[in-house]
């Protein structure tokens, strides 16, 4: 290490737990920061300052006036510019000796896997559940440490996923919240607000966890989630254990990730198209379709006019895995409500399929069918 670099990092190299060895580890590390917002800004600042050799920045957004209250890498003149470009410029000025890669993309199920693959550690600075679950599932498949952070109003959460402890126990976000909440059940910072210093604290903690993991010092927050409250300075550490029963309702391979619709999984934009009697008749006579009855066993009327398979909604998640699906799928139930639920499950796991629900269910269909015969 030359004198110039030694001077830059001298204060941390002095630490007996650290030294030039840890500094070299930081220089060789590749950290991906997803989201250059409230959490991402402080995380990027401290990772760059500490000398993390390669830093990736993912964000699609432009800087807005309402960001400046908490996203401290940006100033008033930056409004309208890409967060990736400006944040990269700023941290490059902090530390010209590190390598910065910007990814100005909307992270999704088709581009995230290969991107994450190229980094050692991921910092989650995202602001929505679809992306949080996407990143979590990919990092779990790759067994890559994921430093999770999330904030609301005056409280924040930090955790480290996919990092085994000394007993080789390893957990991820799905061992805590196995399935996403319904969209309206959790307020967002856009609606409920957030105090500006909170992401500063939580994002800095995320950077600290990354530095600890890379240099192998201290005890990272693996199998724990820390909850911190700005108002009373109280923090609370929860212990997380692996959930042993796997619900099979989320991707566990790269191919499954690419077929998965995280927005649907999180209950967003999930309006299932419905077809009426005439559209259904047209479809089943002219096209190759798979028709699925999602009613429970023994429900009447029984269907004899066309062939279909029966997969009760109560066991839909498990049984559907064994069924080969054609491009077009029609689901139906008694009155058309349960079939929408089934269609949502199906669509979440098979984004490419064309799935519709029979409006009014088999009861409405049968009535019109009988009317059309007589």
């Amino acid at each position: 290490m030359n004198n110039h670099l030694y001077d830059r990092y001298q204060r941390q190299i002095l630490l007996k737990e650290f030294g030039t060895e840890a500094q070299a580890k930081l220089f060789n590390a590749k950290v991906l920061v997803i989201g250059a917002g409230g959490l991402g800004c402080p995380a990027l600042q401290y990772l760059a300052a500490a000398g993390v050799g390669t830093i990736g920045i993912v964000d699609f957004d432009l800087i807005e006036l309402s960001n400046l209250q908490r996203q401290t890498l940006y100033n008033t003149n930056d409004i309208g510019k890409h967060k990736t470009t400006v944040s990269a410029e700023r941290i490059k000025a902090f530390n010209p000796s590190i390598h910065i890669q910007t990814h100005t993309i909307q992270l999704n199920n088709t581009n995230a896997y290969n991107l994450i693959y190229n980094y050692d550690i991921v910092i989650d600075g995202t602001d929505n559940f679809s992306t949080k679950y996407l990143i979590n599932d990919i990092c779990t498949i790759l067994q890559k440490p994921l430093i999770y952070g999330a904030i609301l109003r005056f409280e924040g959460q930090v955790s480290v996923f996919n990092l085994p402890n000394k007993q080789n126990i390893c957990t991820n976000y799905r061992d805590l919240f196995a399935t996403p909440p319904l969209p309206n059940n959790v307020p967002t910072c856009n609606k409920a607000g957030v105090i500006g210093v909170l992401p500063g604290i939580i994002g800095t903690m995320q950077a600290a966890e990354a530095i600890k993991i890379i240099t192998n010092i201290g005890e990272p927050l693996c199998n724990k989630i820390l909850s911190y409250n700005v108002l009373n300075n109280k923090s609370y550490l929860f212990d997380i254990l692996p959930i042993t029963h796997n619900s099979n309702n989320f991707p566990t391979t790269k191919a499954e990730i690419e077929n998965f619709n995280y927005d649907w999984h999180c209950g967003l934009n999930n309006t299932v198209p419905e077809i009426d009697f005439f559209e259904f008749e047209e479809l089943r006579k002219n096209e190759e379709i798979k028709i699925i009855d999602v009613r429970e066993e023994g429900e009447i009327p029984k269907v004899e006019a066309f062939s279909c398979i029966n997969i009760p909604l109560s066991n839909f998640v498990n049984e559907i895995q064994n069924i080969e699906l054609t491009n077009r799928v029609v689901v139906f139930c008694q009155h058309g409500k349960r079939s929408i639920k089934a269609a949502q499950i199906l669509k979440a796991k098979n984004n490419h399929l064309n799935i519709v629900s029979l409006k009014g269910g088999i009861v409405a269909w049968e009535k019109q069918f009988n009317d059309s015969i007589y």
């Binding site: 609301l152 309206n184 212990d239």
Partner: protein, 77 residues
Amino acid sequence: MQINVLAFGQIAEAMNGESFTFSNINTTNDLIDYLMQQYASLKTLDYKIAVNKQIIHSNMPLNNHDTVALLPPFSGG
């Protein structure tokens, strides 16, 4: 028998407080039933339950002076 309850985030908001003590509650399910009666808005919120800091996923018996914490998911960044 006394149970301490800690609420976080939107759960604390729904319960209008962060720290509570309840008596005559024997299991986590009993506690949730009781809380939902007392605080109707809890029914539409998501949260995880921890007993003495350990996150649990099914009903558990409670002992005197156990601390139950209710942790909601956040998505802000």
